[in-house]
Symmetry: C2
């Protein structure tokens, strides 16, 4: 999940200086509009790793925006007054009125996440605390509040570096306390609690954005443009709802007040500036290679191992699900063939997924995958999968933004059920770059027995390369969890990629079977 | 919660015979429309107390409707095939396609509720199971499914009677097993689990209806008309959404597919027949009286007791919240005066709530109540309260149906937080009948020092008496929980009503303080 925020993204000073004056003006204008509409309170929550710049970002926002219409809050240990009321009293009390903006540092999320990281509360208790948060945010959102949540991230290494450098600065060293180092030592448990938090509370009504916190310019501009786009979209939606209302009124129909639930969506927010965005895929080292002779040796070894693991899994009744996604011609088919040649045909199946059948179209999009779950001990290879919802359906516009956005939670919930049932789940994204794809397309064209594989659709998809790459980046961000991580496979060299797939699959199976 | 389904409601045979042919035709017509639209799967869940007629009702529905487009399912112990997949596999597999109806006896609710009643799972574990159900139903609903859930209820006494009478019937006695009697002995724990289930899963997307199961005619007709109204509303909503879409298209705007989330609401379902409905208020014995001399003695006793309890509560830091609702002139003010004359003015406050202030209107409707929560040990009397959302705002149309419907869950969540914080919460509905109100209005008109209390609004509210009564009935149904029950007070005789309030308040405080 957080891998997408460990790309070492930076915004050069010169670009930052260019962007900021425009962004400030836009934010100020939007604040004015918000105030005069007086219909939407804006609630902006900051959470994340210590040292990732939560406080600094709030500081910058206060500089950029009109502070008269901003409420700043940071919650620490509850006061006497607060302890004498239910926990959420202080959060309710401090809500911004319609038309104003509330910025929350260490909000309702702090205590539950820390309590979980410190193992003070159990998993189910943690989920109950998160349920309360979901109910709180949902009550506000359906009433018309705009809720944005930013998770500021640093890798453990980057966090250490940051804390050390703060300590060295005589003016800033007071910011680093023993508590910060305590949290640093809990990093893994903190991140695990954070991941659960984001998965559970990343609702359509109150979405999380994960922001890389290393570079101050990058993170400020990312948060600033995120806020700008969300407010602008909301104001546009309200305007459209009013326009519809007028139409309806002239048609003699009644409509309800515009809230998040019944306002039709607009995607076009007419941004004037946007940030260059590195994706998790752009960081892959695609030059990795394996020569053919090594490949042959490795492949044999892997297949022998897989074959025996596959049999052991069957005997233990452990099912395996292997998902393949990636650009056209990335080599999914080739990898799948190398896997299945090691398996017993009685107890595996390969399921290719293209457009749904009529029967499938009459059902929820997950239905076609649910019904193909195998009996105990079998291996199922999904050649494309439920991730189509957030990839092709998103990019091609077959699913609305609301639909694909909520799919992340639906997919996480689905996979959680697989894992709870002790199914071994592996998810592979095989990646190639655009040039390599072109090379392979041309090769297919020229090879008679391969040319059938290349369709007009492949060329059309290729034109939307950037859209697909962004969709894959978001997919990894929201669905790569510590229980069901994505394995990103460097696919330019087929030998390298196939062996990486086989090896990681064997490792996973080995680990699961010896549990 | 279930008190509203213990009214011994019956539908006379003659009326039943009149209604059924019309209802059957309506249901068949709607099934046809559903099929030809082919956009909405209908999922109807039955749950409840054994012997309350779940099976019989499903049987009747199969008779009334076209069985070719109905899927019937009842889930018992999972088969081998089912055990080898995640728990929800069988539920996913059996979903009705768009345009068809699924009837579920003992659905995804059975196992969690029984496991909880049998104390096999803890409270937090139970909530996690319910979360999974919420996620499941929500995924289907936002995708366009219409989900209806009927809880068939019997009181413990009625259940015993029903099981006994089945046992006596040689043709039906096979239906009663030792398991049924086991469940009967667990009645209280079963009902507690049921209440939690309904509170948590009564979402806008998948609402519960509680149906009294004593009389077969009543329950069949209630369920049948409920299904009819919901399907008709959905079909109307889809039609309206299509009409809007046409308007938008001509205006060059894009819209998303109509789903439960973005279809504007219609209230008018154009019902041809509807059932006479008794309310929980119509069952109160308003003739109960207390003569004045007994009243004086009792009042003194109660006030002395309350005064001492109030002081003990303060010393222990236990806050008390007392809510009063009821028709105009029911005697709320009089009851409140009798209470506070026993209290220490430093540590109580009475808060009357009428229309919200400007500042309050700029916030969520619960904000004005949250911010008035007192410090520890204080007593707060709410003269009208957050229940305004589901009473006056509903009846007067200040809140949309979606708004007041979701308020039940919001209110339950709010009160749960009060109770978790060890606040003593008492909720009084003081009731009078329509004649008594008229008598009191007239008396007020004629008494100079009381005439200011009577406004035009009181007369206007009186015209909507039936609407308010139905709203109060629903309010009791969805918000009278075992941790925060409504006390319904017979108010025609002021002396009786005041003493009932005082006594129940003292009992509650006594119980809470000696915990």
């Amino acid at each position: 999940m957080f891998r997408t925020a460990e790309l070492d993204q930076k915004l050069p000073k010169s670009e930052y200086k260019q962007i900021v004056p425009i962004l400030r003006q836009e934010l100020l204008d939007l604040q004015m509009e918000l105030r005069s509409a007086a219909r939407t309170p804006v609630i902006i929550v900051f959470a994340g790793v210590d040292g990732a710049g939560k406080g600094a970002t709030v500081h910058v926002l206060n500089e950029w925006m009109d502070v008269r219409w901003i409420i700043n809050r940071a919650y620490r240990k509850p006061s006497d007054e607060e302890r004498e009321r239910p926990e959420f009293w202080r959060f309710w009390r401090d809500l911004p009125p319609k038309g104003q903006v509330g910025l929350y540092l260490s909000s309702w999320y702090s205590r539950p996440v820390l309590d979980r990281a410190n193992a003070i509360i159990s998993g189910p208790e943690f989920d109950e605390r998160l349920d309360r948060i979901i109910a709180y945010e949902n009550a506000l959102a359906v009433d018309g509040a705009l809720i944005l949540k930013f998770w500021m991230h640093l890798s453990q290494k980057a966090q250490k570096k940051r804390l050390k450098s703060l300590e060295r600065d005589p003016l800033l060293s007071w910011q680093v306390t023993e508590k910060d180092w305590e949290h640093w030592r809990l990093y893994d448990r903190f991140i695990e609690a954070a991941e659960r938090t984001i998965i559970r509370t990343n609702t359509g009504n109150a979405p999380w954005s994960i922001v890389e916190g290393v570079d101050p310019g990058y993170r400020s501009a990312t948060v600033g443009t995120g806020i700008r786009d969300a407010i602008r979209k909301r104001l546009n939606d309200l305007q459209r709802a009013d326009a519809l209302k007028t139409v309806n009124n002239t048609r003699g129909q009644e409509t309800t007040a515009p809230t998040d639930q019944n306002v039709p969506e607009t995607d076009d927010v007419g941004s004037t500036i946007s940030l260059p965005q590195a994706t998790v895929l752009s960081q892959l080292d695609l030059s990795q290679k394996l020569n053919k002779s090594d490949y042959k040796v490795e492949l044999k070894k892997c297949q022998a191992q897989l074959s025996s693991l596959h049999r052991r899994a069957f005997e233990k009744g452990v099912s395996t699900i292997i998902v393949f996604e990636g650009p056209d011609a990335a080599g999914k088919g080739g990898a799948i063939r190398r896997i299945i040649s090691a398996l017993d045909p009685h107890i595996y199946q390969v399921l290719p997924f293209a457009a749904p059948t009529d029967e499938e179209r009459a059902q929820h999009y997950l239905w076609r995958f649910w019904r193909r779950l195998s009996r105990a001990g079998h291996t199922t290879v999904f050649d494309r999968s439920w991730y189509g919802r957030v990839l092709v359906e998103r990019v091609e516009g077959f699913a609305t933004e609301k639909e694909w956005r909520r799919a992340y939670a639906e997919i996480n919930d689905f996979e959680e059920q697989l894992i709870e049932h002790s199914i071994v789940l592996m998810k592979y994204w095989i990646h190639i770059d655009k040039d390599e794809q072109l090379r392979r397309f041309k090769e297919r064209e020229q090879t008679p027995h391969k040319s059938w594989k290349l369709t007009d659709e492949d060329w059309r998809n290729r034109e939307k390369w950037e859209g697909y790459e962004m969709a894959a980046h978001d997919m990894v961000q929201y669905t790569s969890t510590h229980v069901a991580p994505w394995v990103l496979v460097e696919g330019n060299n087929k030998q390298f990629s196939r062996i990486k797939v086989m090896k990681t699959l064997c490792e996973k199976l080995e680990g699961s079977l010896s549990e």
